[in-house]
Amino acid sequence: MRVLVIEDYALLRDSLVSGLQDLGYAVDATGDGNDGLWRSGEHPYDVMILDLMLPGLGGLDVLRRLRAAGNTVPVLVLTAKDSIEDRVVGLDHGADDYLVKPFAFDELAARVRALVRRRYDRDVAVIRVADVEIDTRKRSVRRGDQIVPLSAREYALLEYLANRAGHVVTRTEIWDHVYDAADEPWSNVLDVHISHLRRKLDHGRARRLIHTRRGLGYMFGEGDDE
């Protein structure tokens, strides 16, 4: 899942990026409202974390322009103001959730997970596809009664595929949602992660779940290879 962090306080921004990356998110970050708005138009982010007090273009203006442009990315607003009016004004401008500074990182992570679930029309934290069970809270994966150990990036890739289970997912979409701007899009890193995932998840199983649709992309779920 790919997250955009717009926060002008460098220390908080860096810490958020680092923490979210540790949780397997692809994270882009900026300290500038205009830059953030531009980035949100360039990539289909799964969640945006937006500080309200920004230099240049303020957080509320970012939100207003974002929604005016028809962008439906779930937005988690960070605010240092805790009055009811301040919270209401954020929600009224199209925010999906808010957190008052200072917040617990665990809470932020839980709220980001909830926004991702909503993004993919899930209402529980556990995704089940065939005999695969993905617990998005613990970020653990089981197939049948076996735990499948995955790296952070492999997990992120699987979670995205599982969220789109039954649909063909293009390589571009995977790039947009699983990798951040720091990754090199033309490298074979995606193929490497897919093959690792296949080895860990499908190897030695009668039924394979990761299917290649040549020229289109990949599909997760029960189905046949071409």
Binding site: D8, Y9, A10, L11, L12, D14, S15, L16, S18, G19, D22, L23, M53, L54, P55, G56, G58, L78, A80, K81, S83, V100, K101, P102, F103, A104, F105, D106, L108
Partner: protein
């Protein structure tokens, strides 16, 4: 213990009643005296007329003097008459005298009046009349006689006493009426005051938006009400400012706190290398230092507000002071490729409080080092009037914001890039310190330069 203050109404009532009471008593006494005097005069006139009427009865003929007094009408208190001839023999006397005599007042021809006690013991008044009896014979020289008439004064005493009682009753009645009217009209007249008091009583720090309108108020209250309204407006603004300040302070503290907390929590997410831990600790300490500086500035400002610290003036070498103040920012300026020049003459001195001026200059330089655009310049110079100018290459402060830079916790969000924790307390503190030093601190901004000027204040 609470003493009951005297109300304006009772004070006015007392004053009015005392005045009216004294006037009434004086008037009543004067009137009483006039009435009594008039009554006595009329009474005496009557007495004289009756004495003359009796004297007319006496006559002189060939047989000598002769006088027969008319009988006293029955049912009346007795009057007393006694008449003497020149030789002292009694010519006539009323039977009511019995064996007693009336005082034989002697004097020239005419009448003499006096208070007396009647032979029967009653209070009375007598008239002694020397007269010449009617002479029918015209043969002998007629000698004058003395007539004394004494009558009781019960009637006139009663009348005067009654008048006195009436004066007292009417006076008391008038006083009561005045009391009633005064109380009523004072209550009515002072109603705007009591209503105002009620409205003022309802005002507390949560209801500072209340205004006491002057509409329909009496002229005397217009000025106090207007002044009160102005005071309320000032109070409301002050309270709002304090609330905003508290909110801003908590806001300024929340952002670095959020950074610190997230930094620590994220670092603790998983085991990390020693380098990563060291890095996190270094960054954490930076935040702590920023928070510390923020708290120090806030405290300095609060202390400056609360009690005025004493000034310790001495000659200060300005060039050296600027150099010392700049040294903590040299590194930051180098990293932002800012050029710094200290153009203050080596020998320039000012007699002032060194530590307070240091706080002012430090804050101006910190502001410049933080906000001047990368690659710009910062210059400190002495002004012709002896003041100091801290100028930088901008970015310019928008016209409508220039005066607001000295507001507490102002953040030039629109124009100036916040570099992490910034809190606009520095310039507010600098200005407050300048006030204390009897200096003025002003800002000017053009497209080429932003300048802060410290100058001796004209009004001192």
């Amino acid at each position: 213990m609470r003493s009951n203050p005297i109300s304006l109404r009772s004070r006015l009532t007392t004053a009015v009643l005392a005045t009216v009471g004294v006037v009434l008593v004086v008037l009543a006494v004067l009137l009483y005296l006039v009435v009594r005097r008039t009554a006595w005069r009329q009474h005496d006139d009557g007495l004289r007329a009756r004495a003359e009427a009796i004297a007319a009865i006496a006559e002189h003929d060939d047989d000598g003097y002769e006088m027969s007094l008319p009988p006293q009408p029955a049912g009346q208190l007795p009057a007393f008459v006694e008449v003497w001839t020149r030789d002292g023999s009694v010519l006539a006397r009323t039977p009511s005298l019995g064996t007693k005599d009336l005082p034989k007042l002697d004097g020239p021809l005419g009448a003499e009046l006096a208070d007396t006690t009647l032979p029967d013991g009653r209070a009375g008044r007598l008239i002694a009349l020397r007269f010449v009896p009617r002479d029918d014979a015209r043969t002998h020289p007629v000698e004058p006689m003395l007539l004394v008439l004494a009558e009781g004064t019960e009637a006139i005493d009663d009348a005067i006493a009654t008048a006195g009682v009436w004066f007292i009753v009417l006076g008391l009645g008038a006083l009561a009426a005045v009391f009633g009217v005064t109380t009523w009209s004072l209550r009515r007249g002072l109603r705007p005051l009591t209503e105002l008091a009620d409205r003022i009583e309802q005002i507390d720090d949560r209801r500072l938006t209340t205004r006491l309108s002057t509409a329909g108020q009496p002229a005397e209250l217009i000025v106090p009400i207007r002044k009160l309204d102005e005071l309320l407006a000032r109070l409301e603004r002050a309270f709002a400012r304090e609330r905003q300040f508290t909110a801003d302070v908590s806001h300024e503290l929340r952002t670095p706190l959020a950074g610190l907390r997230t930094l620590l929590e994220v670092t603790a997410l998983r085991p990390r290398s020693t380098t990563e831990y060291a890095d996190a600790m270094a960054r954490g300490l930076e935040v702590v230092a920023q928070l510390g500086a923020l708290v120090e500035s806030l405290l300095a400002l609060a202390r400056l507000d609360a009690d005025q610290p004493a000034l310790e003036t001495e000659p200060v070498r300005l060039h050296d002071l600027v150099r010392e103040c700049w040294s903590p920012y040299r590194e930051l300026a180098t990293s932002r490729t800012l050029r710094f020049t200290n153009d203050v003459p080596e020998h320039a001195t000012a007699t002032t409080d060194r530590e307070k001026l240091r706080i002012v200059v430090t804050n101006l330089l910190a502001n410049a080092a933080e906000y001047t655009e990368v690659g710009g310049w910062i210059a400190v110079a002495q002004l012709p009037d002896g003041g100091l100018e801290v100028a930088d290459s901008g970015p310019p402060i928008p016209d409508d914001q220039v005066d607001r830079v000295f507001d507490r916790l102002w953040r030039g969000d629109a124009a100036r890039t916040a570099t992490g924790v910034h809190c606009g307390i520095g310039l507010a503190l600098a200005r407050a310190m300048c006030d204390r030093l009897a200096l003025s601190l002003t800002a000017t901004s053009t497209t080429e330069r932003v300048a802060f000027r410290i100058a001796p204040r004209g009004d001192r």
